[in-house]
């Protein structure tokens, strides 16, 4: 059960060979591209060869041993568990979305950078070593043992499955996006190709296969993230260490921003967008007459074009506009309101990149600051409560290795998060200095090729034939994928980035699917429905659950729910308010009992969900009802303290937990000290 140095060395050798092999593949493809290999082939070779590697690792690590399947035999060395956790943690949202978010929001987006790393301090100090000492299979296992009985376990299963499922749908969606863009297949088919990639890893080998695949995926994703921005940094500053030198570029960018914001043509474009917003406001006010007028106007235009014998393309475009008109006044209200908001957003300059807590007046600035702090808090606590991350610390050989492995996790995550703001600054610099102000007729090729999918939009609203900042829209999720092309790098770099994004999405999806299927099969079936189930039967149940959950998640993803980012934010708040107080008090406060825990978990979760419904337009709420102006994404900021208070109050009002439970708490607080009665009793 202990890590032998021999195992560590062998793993090190394997992964070193593998990393070198991957770099050789990239170099080979770069050379092949110069010799005329088409981009389509490069994309396909990248995606299929990496999926083949993951599949091979998955098949080699197949297992039918319960401990191997659930916790990789508890012998994953700290360093490798750190890499696996990092891959588990960094999802499509981190890899693809973060740089884009930072590009648009500047300082405000840094809440994600600080939040998603700072949570690991809480994992290290408050949870990981103790959960490892407890040493079972899932997070509900701990809740069930510490808070005696099935009630706490069921609440844990429910919240864990809810948070993980929402999250896994987002990952599969990301996989579909990447495969459809880079190998040119339908989005829905891409989703199921991705699903196959996920299942080959997790189905046969469970946690063991997922762990070793995640290490491989981490190596690919970090290479893919660092290489393009290093090249870009070299191009702009002459130093290939973007993290160290982007401060200078940020300063230059600040100067450039001031220049752009005071440019007369830029301001003219902003003004035109304001007029357009007012126009939409008027049309919304005049509903339903305005919609009818719009429709007759468009019908007239189509007939006019037809009678004039205009070009077929022009007629088709006019017909499409007519078809796309909202059908009912209610549809029109929603659609035009969105268009009005969009035009309104374009009518003002974006805040300068480095400006802290931007706002028009002091009240707006204060609200921005409160939201920044609240979001940082929720992301940190959510990180320290997501079951698929906490579960990883069950796989190390000892408490000490678990502790060390949090350090390695944070280190490997740090590499990406410290680079993301640099990515955004370099991308903005490239766009502001080389793209804005050029002739719209002679824009580079990527504008047209990404424009087809609607991810890049250009509208020459003032008709001067020159691109103004306000006239350019790049989809925030596409920024990272486009950067290599913006910088004029060879296509092989784009292929590499796509392979990295795929690795990030697949690795997170693997970890989440395992969490869900373990919760359903281990916690619900084995612990509650049929404790006599044989080992073999348990594994069969787990594997079939995995299959079912994966297919359902892929199906939901293929419906393209458009509020995916919001749902990921929701997953953090759910996990934070349901788990964090119960887990931490379970370790640090012996007096916490089952009534307190169950009431606290339900109260925290309840407040969080209530606040979402109250404030988010998706559920018909409005920000007018917000408390302290806190955005719905940070709803956990209310749920977490409520959870703590309710656990404390209810526990004190009810009898203290029995002696066995107090002994369990004493047990998890102590470091490794050989085997003892509790472990023996639980056959661990």
């Amino acid at each position: 059960m202990t890590t032998t140095p021999a195992l560590f060395r062998r793993l090190g050798r394997y992964y070193a060979v593998y990393a070198v092999g991957f770099v050789c593949l990239v170099i080979f493809l770069a050379v092949a591209e110069q010799l005329g290999l088409s981009p389509r082939w490069i994309g396909q070779i990248f995606l299929f060869s990496t999926i083949a590697i993951y599949a091979a690792i998955g098949v080699m690590s197949r297992t039918s041993d319960v401990s191997e399947y659930y916790v990789a035999g508890r012998r994953v060395p700290a360093l490798f568990n750190g890499m696996a956790t990092a891959a588990d943690w960094m999802s499509a949202a981190s890899f693809i979305g973060l740089a884009g978010t930072l590009y648009y929001t500047g300082f405000v987006g840094l809440a994600f950078v600080t939040g998603w790393t700072g949570g690991y301090v809480l994992v290290a100090l408050l949870l990981a070593p103790f959960l490892r000492k407890f040493g079972q299979f899932t997070i509900p296992d701990f809740l069930g043992a510490r808070y005696e009985g099935h009630f706490a376990r069921v609440v844990g299963v429910f919240a864990g499955v809810l948070a993980s499922f929402v999250y896994v749908v987002a990952q599969i969606y990301g996989v579909g996006l990447i495969t459809s863009r880079f190998i040119g297949i339908e989005f829905e088919i891409g989703v199921f190709v991705g699903l196959a990639g996920i299942l080959v890893c997790s189905f046969l080998g469970g946690m063991r296969a997922v762990t070793w695949t995640q290490v491989a995926q981490y190596l690919i994703l970090i290479i893919a993230y660092l290489v393009p921005v290093a090249i870009l940094s070299y191009k702009v500053t002459g130093v290939p260490v973007p993290q160290a030198v982007y401060g200078e570029v940020l300063r230059d960018l600040g100067v450039k921003e001031l220049e752009l914001f005071s440019e007369p043509r830029e301001n003219e474009v902003r003004l035109q967008y304001r007029y357009r917003a007012e126009e939409y406001a008027r049309k919304i006010a005049d509903l339903p007459e305005s919609l009818a007028a719009e429709r007759t106007g468009q019908v007239e235009r189509v007939t006019e074009l037809r009678t004039q014998g205009a070009a077929a393309r022009e007629i088709a475009a006019a017909e499409r506009t007519l078809r796309d008109l909202p059908r009912t006044p209610d549809d029109a209200r929603i659609k035009w309101e969105r268009a009005r908001q969009d035009s309104l957003a374009r009518s003002v300059h974006p805040p300068p990149h480095a400006e802290a807590h931007p706002g028009a007046d002091q009240a707006a600035k204060d609200s921005a600051r409160n939201n920044f702090i609240a979001l940082t808090f929720v992301l940190m606590v959510g990180t320290a409560a997501l079951p698929h991350i906490l579960m990883r610390y069950y796989t190390t050989p000892s408490v000490r290795e678990a502790r060390r492995s949090v350090f390695w996790s944070l280190f490997f995550i740090f590499l990406l998060y410290v680079t993301a703001p640099a990515y955004a600054v370099f991308a903005k610099w490239e766009v502001y200095s080389n793209l804005i102000g050029t002739d719209i007729g002679s824009l580079p090729g990527w504008v047209a090729s990404w424009g087809k999918g609607g991810l890049v939009k250009i509208e020459d609203i003032n008709g001067d034939g020159i691109l103004q900042l306000a006239e350019l829209t790049i989809n925030s999720d596409a920024i990272l994928l486009i950067i290599p092309e913006i910088a004029g790098l060879p296509y092989v770099v784009s292929g590499l980035v796509a392979a990295g994004g795929l690795a990030a999405a697949l690795s997170t999806a693997d970890g989440l699917l395992l969490t869900i299927s373990h919760a359903l099969s281990h916690d619900l079936y084995y612990k509650m429905v049929n404790p006599q189930a044989s080992t073999q039967r348990r594994l069969v149940i787990t594997k079939s659950q995995l299959l079912v959950v994966a297919v359902v998640a892929a199906w939901v993803a293929s419906l393209r729910p458009d509020s995916i980012l919001f749902m990921v934010g929701l997953a953090f708040s759910i996990a934070a308010s349901a788990f964090f107080p119960a887990l931490v008090l379970g370790i640090f406060w012996k007096r916490a009992n089952k009534w307190g825990a169950v009431a606290g978990m339900l109260a925290g979760l309840g407040i969080t969900l209530y606040y979402i419904v109250r404030t988010h337009p998706f559920f018909g709420g409005s920000m007018g009802d917000a408390w302290f102006d806190i955005n719905p994404i940070s709803c956990g900021v209310f749920g977490v303290p409520v959870g703590f208070i309710v656990i404390a109050v209810v526990s004190l009002l009810t009898p203290p937990p029995p002696l066995e439970v107090q002994a369990l708490v004493d047990f998890v607080r102590m470091p490794d000290q050989g085997r003892n009665a509790f472990e023996a009793e639980n056959r661990l």
Partner: protein, 87 residues
Amino acid sequence: MSDIRARQRAYWRATLRLTSVLLLAWAAASFLPGWFAEDLNTFSFYGWPLGFYMAAQGALIIFLVIVWIYDRWMTRLERRYGLHDKD
């Protein structure tokens, strides 16, 4: 037996002390730069406005150091109270 109990209790108290100090450092690194970002941004640090730097890099480095110190210190505590694994 009572000796080991006493050592365990002392070990836990030391753990709690260390944990609270490091949590305080964590909270300061997480929330103070964000709260005072506007004032910090008036200073410049190798080109970065200081408030921006703290949220983008400074806090992250502090987090790494906190986790590293925790691991080191806990291993020392285990030794000091004779609770480490001997194998």
